[in-house]
Structure formats: structure tokens, C-alpha cells
Symmetry: C2
Subunit: 282 residues, 2 copies
């Protein structure tokens, strides 16, 4: 199972799954198939030439697949595996794109067939819109990819997935434990989404805010346009880490508030100097 | 005083003043002069061809100028006018770029010579870096411009400034009172800066955060690289409005926190739907 003839199945051709199919095509992989419950999505994907064939059920196609990329909401991944557990090809590899890992990994390992390898992955790329119409291989360019290994993962499969990830355009692959993944993602991804939502929701109703904005407000609220089903799942699956990140953030924002209330210009400048130094290092 | 031969003086050729000079040149204005305390900056501006001549003092040049754009930190604007009050040309126009207005406007009006018109302005565009090296006419393209009028402003001067603002590339001009300006800017500009600073400062020391970030964290922290002198001035000059905006934001973030703590998926989704609708409308 090597080279560009590897048989790859994308499950869920939404904005992320669709982007995988596009990036795989651009990288020269020519045996890419798709599963989606939406027939129009399958037709679009076929018309774009990014899948060879589309299916609404796994039964007919899964048995031939070397690699399956499950690009579904986290809660649906387990269902997909349970429904199709008798069809997976022995020795095949599965990976996912879920933005939470700790609870998720254990749930999947509990039901995974013995002869299938599952390497957990999280592409740190996405768009605020959903659906194949917003898919784009560009979002993967130079982005970060997180991989969570388990004891059962085979060396050759890890190498295969690494190669594909770089072929897709990603720049960095970082190996992390499920718990560290969730802790960091609570801070770098979920907290910014919570902040963006709170920022735009804190506007007073009926103001002509659009006339008063520059890039800063635009940048900070872009992700306030959020898929409520996916992100409520992600927030609740990582509740403890996210709450900790929110509390740390509140603590810092309260320092700024105190500096203002106490006319403490020295403290305010120190906070600005610290943030500038950290942002430049990033 | 009309047309592209209007004699224009930019006071302070930093990132904003430098951008004005560049955009004026691109728009065909060919009588643009500059004042800066930094000789190297004046040399650079002259070498770029964006000013005809540069000066370190106002005395020699101000008396010939039709329009003066003061692009200094707010606290320095008053000093500049006081130092040069005997040199301004009768009937000339001054404007500024200060990001706060209420206290500022009154201070300036108290010391302004009788025969000079001052129209207060705020280009909603900027960059996180300072200095002429980061100046760019592109930042003005399609941006918003806020103007704060006083009773004394002459109609022909308002029309002149409007024309120049559109020539610079701005898309919208909005006329606002000083108090509404400061209330809105506290929300759309200062609050996002406070949030960005608090977000990056809330990271735990020593983590390899760079490997865990996607566009969301990158976007939300861009403005955490902040000019501490300018922004502490802006924050303190608009303290009450900023504190109100911070409190409204905290209130919304606490709703998200409550939804998490109470496992209230319905509330969390409602907040996401509200923020998505608002962002799409923007």
C-alpha cells in the first residue's frame, strides 16, 4: 500500500473532507473515493474531479480501501466505525480530523476492529463556513498538523500518514498525547472562538457598528461565524480545559481593567510590552 | 486652495503619516511636505519621493501650508499647535488622526488660533508596527474614516477634506459626535486590543504554542503586538468607555462559561447562532 495509487476514502466531503480530496488530487493521488449522505455533494465532488466515485454508504467501497480519512463531527466517528466494522480491509489505516482527543480516542479504541490501525490526527486548518463549496486546498498550506499516537500504531503507517500530510501542504507535524492536545487546543483554538463570539455578542443592538470598524474588529470576529453543532460538541468534549483557559484569560483581562481603574500606566505598559514580545516570538 | 497643487504638510511621518504621504503621492498631490523629529525618517521620505521637502521644525514651512495633517500621538498635538500658533496661514485647515476625541477636541479648541479651521478625523486603518518603514498606502484602501465636526468648521473645508479622504482610498466617511466616536471606538478598536493582549498574555510560560496554532489564534493575537506609548494614551483618554465595553464583553463571556458549567447545550448554540448572524451581517 504505497505511492499515488493508494486507495483513499474520504468520509464526509464537507469543508475539511472536501479540502482533503482537493489537496490529494493536486498532490497526484488518483485513487480517491468519497462517502457523503448528501447526494449533491457527491455529484459536485465528482464533477470537480476530486473523487473517482462517490457513495452514500460504506458497505460497497470500504473493503478495498487502504486509507480512510473520517472527516465527520467527532460524535459521528464512532457510529461510522460501528456501522462498518465488518467491512474494513485487514491491515488498513484509518485517521480522523477531530478537534478533541482525550475522551474521543478512548471511545474509538474501545470499538476498533483488531486488524485495523487508527492514527488520530488534527489538521490545524479550517474555514468558518461549512460544506464542499468552501473547501480549498489552500487552507492546508504551511499549516500545523497534530498527531496523537497510540501504542498499537504501526511504524509503516505512521510514515505513510506523515508523507501524505506533507503532500497535502502542511508544514509541521507535532506528536502529542491526547491530554496535552486537548489542553493546548482549549487555549489556541477553543478560547479564541469563545472570545470572538462574546466580542460580537457584546455589541449593543441596533448600532451601525460596521462604519466604525478597522481590521482589528474584523480579524477578532471572523470566527464568530461558527458552526453551532460542531463547536458545541468540541466545547463540551473539552469542557475542563476550555474553562481553565477562559479563567486564565479572565485573569489577564482583569489586570488590564485594574490598570485602568487605578490609573496605573506603568502596569498597562508592562502588559503591552509582554504581549508584544510574545507576539513577535510567535 | 484647490486641486492637486494644494500645499499639504504632514506632521509626523510615522506609520500613519507616512502612509498619508504615500497615498497623497499616488493620488497625484504634488505639493506635500513633511515634519519629523527624526532626520533619517525625513531622508527616507524624500528618497521615496513622497515629500517634496522635510523639516524638523514648523517655523519655516507652516506659513505657506493650506492643509496640515497632524499625525502625532494625541498628547503631542496640543503641544505642536501651541509651539506654532503664530505661524499658521490665515484660513488654512488642520486635521488630525487621533483615535480618541471627546477630551481631545475640547483641549484643541481651547488653544486654536481664531483664523484656522480644525476638522477632527480618525482613519480606521493602521498597522501593528511603527515607523515610516511600515507605512503603506494599501492600509487605507476601502477603509472607514470618522470625522468629528465642530460648529466652526467651514463647508468648503469639509468638502475639501472629504475629497482628499476619498482620493486616499477610503471607502466610507462617517460623521459622528466626539462622545459617540469614543463610545464606538472603545468597543470596536480598544476592546479588541485589550482582548488580544490578555489572550496572548494568558498563555503559560514555556509552552511550544506555535506548533498548536491555526488562523484563529494568529488572527486574534496579531494586534497584541502593540505600541505601548500610543495605546496606553488611547486607553486612558477613553477609560470610561473602554471599561464599559470590557464589562459588556465579560458579561457575554460569562454566559458561555455558564453554559459550559451547567451543560446547557441549548444556550451555547443560541450564543453561536447569534454571533454567526451578527458576523454575517457585518
Amino acid at each position: 500500500m504505497e505511492g499515488k495509487n493508494l486507495k483513499i476514502l474520504i468520509v464526509g466531503l464537507g469543508v475539511i473532507g472536501g479540502s482533503y480530496a482537493m489537496a490529494l488530487k493536486a498532490a497526484g493521488y488518483n485513487e480517491v473515493y468519497g462517502i457523503d449522505i448528501d447526494l449533491e455533494t457527491l455529484e459536485k465532488a465528482k464533477a470537480l474531479g476530486i473523487i473517482k466515485e462517490g457513495y452514500s454508504k460504506g458497505k460497497d467501497i470500504i473493503k478495498d480501501m487502504d486509507l480512510i480519512v473520517i472527516s465527520l463531527y467527532p460524535r459521528l466517528v464512532k457510529d461510522f466505525i460501528l456501522e462498518n466494522r465488518e467491512y474494513f480491509k485487514a491491515g488498513s489505516l484509518i485517521t480522523d480530523v477531530a478537534g478533541v482527543k482525550e475522551l474521543f480516542v478512548q471511545e474509538i479504541l474501545d470499538i476498533l476492529p483488531e486488524d485495523v490501525d487508527f492514527i488520530f490526527g488534527h489538521p490545524m486548518a479550517g474555514r468558518e463556513k461549512k460544506g464542499i463549496d468552501y473547501a480549498s486546498k489552500e487552507v492546508f498550506k504551511d499549516a500545523n498538523y497534530l498527531i496523537t499516537l497510540t501504542e498499537k500504531n504501526k511504524k509503516e503507517n505512521i510514515e505513510l500518514l506523515e508523507k501524505i500530510i506533507y503532500d497535502l501542504g502542511f508544514k509541521n507535524i507535532k506528536y502529542v498525547s491526547p491530554s496535552y492536545h486537548d489542553k493546548m487546543i482549549g487555549f489556541t483554538s477553543q478560547l479564541p472562538h469563545a472570545i470572538a463570539v462574546a466580542l460580537i455578542n457584546s455589541d449593543e443592538e441596533g448600532r451601525d457598528t460596521g462604519k466604525f470598524i478597522g481590521d482589528s474588529y474584523r480579524d477578532l470576529t471572523r470566527i464568530a461565524n461558527i458552526n453551532e453543532d460542531l463547536w458545541s460538541e468540541l466545547f463540551f468534549e473539552n469542557k475542563e480545559n476550555l474553562l481553565e483557559a477562559i479563567n486564565n484569560f479572565l485573569n489577564e483581562l482583569n489586570k488590564i481593567k485594574s490598570a485602568l481603574l487605578n490609573d496605573d500606566e506603568k502596569l498597562l505598559k508592562e502588559l503591552f510590552i509582554k504581549s508584544s514580545r510574545r507576539r513577535e516570538k510567535l
